[in-house]
Subunit: 81 residues, 2 copies
């Protein structure tokens, strides 16, 4: 069966996120009020052929560890639909 | 109150996603089987000060339209926690 797996990769909380800071500046220049913090990461959507949802998740986990996320700077979350 | 709002920006389904294709090639080179398609987008996490969750969502919607997503190439989804 084919599962749709989402991997969300975000910069670690303790690290600065200059891209997010730039977007926050841009929003303020556009006159948007109330945005206190912005952090920007990646969202990877994969179609995975696997026997079970757990197998699909295991494949995504390996992909995240080996290629998608840099554990020094990023954390990831995996969700299977 | 401060709401955490996630904006997921993904390339439109009908468009090619060269970054996703490159990652798919990388996964195959790493020996990971079963990944049929990969698409890569952005995930923007914002802390928004607003009176209600709907207000926070409206601010995020405006931010997405004006700055975060390019409607010619991308679609977005907003979720408020």
């Amino acid at each position: 069966m084919t599962y749709t797996v989402q991997v969300k990769v975000m910069p670690l909380k303790d690290l600065l996120d200059p891209q997010g800071k730039a977007v926050m500046g841009g929003l303020s220049n556009l006159g948007l009020q109330g945005v206190a913090d912005v952090r920007i990461g990646k969202n990877i959507s994969m179609q995975i052929d696997a026997a079970t949802a757990d197998d699909a998740k295991a494949i995504a986990e390996e992909a995240a560890k080996k290629l998608l996320a840099n554990p020094v700077m990023e954390q990831y979350e995996i969700s299977v639909n």
